[in-house]
Symmetry: none
Subunit: 200 residues, 2 copies
């Protein structure tokens, strides 16, 4: 047993063979037909279906091409279109997950809900001078931001510094470098909501 140094990274089952067989049978295809369509050998297909081997990614591509299915379809195991309807995740004021840094103190909101498309968090802006940032903050996706308390100066990569105060809001492409500094007596507080950077 080779040790993979510390970290776990367990590979759960995710029985893709089973799923593949389902699809094949649902379409009343034989292994031979699937072989024709995908270019993979009958034997290989058999082994994949019985979870005897873990297919190469190119093999997976041949499968999704040849069978005209898409990944989600191949992965969604028992087809649970049940939907996570009616989920919700409450965060009382101040009770989010705190992540302090020298310049910002982030408080992640609604962090119990795993699969979500937006990431909301509240930030106390500790920074007082632009120079405190070693480099731009940037991340894929879009960001909406509203100042809840105090006044800030928003520095961005492409624009002049922009003064914002309580109630002002801004929507921007968060791949553009940005950085906030407080300019009021007290530290400013802002609410941000970011998109997850995936699906375009």
């Amino acid at each position: 047993m080779r040790i993979a140094s510390g970290r776990k990274a367990f590979v759960e089952p995710l029985r893709l063979g089973e799923r593949l067989k389902e699809i094949r049978l649902a379409n009343q295809w034989t292994l031979e037909e699937v072989s024709q369509r995908t270019g993979l050998a009958r034997s290989t297909l058999s082994k994949i279906e019985n979870d005897q081997i873990s297919p190469t990614f190119t093999a997976v591509q041949k499968l999704i091409n040849g069978l005209a299915i898409d990944l989600p379809q191949l992965l969604s195991p028992p087809k649970p279109q049940t939907q996570t309807l009616g989920r919700r995740d409450l965060t009382r004021s101040g009770e989010g997950q705190h992540h302090p840094t020298p310049t910002y103190e982030h408080e992640l909101l609604s962090c119990q809900l795993a699969q979500k498309r937006m990431i909301p968090f509240k930030t106390i802006v500790r920074a007082r001078h632009f120079e405190e940032f070693s480099e731009w903050v940037r991340h894929d996706g879009e960001e909406f931001l509203m100042v809840l308390e105090g006044k800030i100066l928003m520095y961005t990569e492409y624009y002049e510094p922009l003064p914002l105060e309580s109630g002002d809001s801004i929507y921007f492409d968060s791949a553009m470098g940005h950085a906030l500094v407080s300019v009021s007596e007290e530290d400013a507080v802002v609410l941000s909501v970011c998109t997850r950077g995936d699906t375009v």
Copy 2:
């Protein structure tokens, strides 16, 4: 037996290595860090990124687990890096587009920016009793909501009414029927951010 000549099954590119590298660099991870997270060897990662090998599906799983990304994100092809970089849309307090109704008074924020993935708006909750709503409010997608001023009672289709006050926030599936009423002296004010209901 339809197609009898699919033998070749052209292996189209779908440069996953490239995409993976993008993701890694975007997060400023080194190969070593990714190795720790995924349990894959540095060398293996390097080869995958340079399209020297086609990773096993288990390897792909380790990647998506370890990096907390999902398949679509990994596959979404060459990334539209062009992007409308550096867009932004400022809304000064109170200067959004107002849409009054008997129960709510919505103020759309950042409405100059057309193509965006989130819709932020501020709402003054005029309703005082649940009975004022003829039916549930519901819409595709997800919604994040934070109470800015006052106290409200949030009625939902599947849960007990939930009292929320200034600073509290909640994230929920907005397909679940919902309705807000003010229970404080003054009308309550809430900030909402919805996802656009398209991309699943």
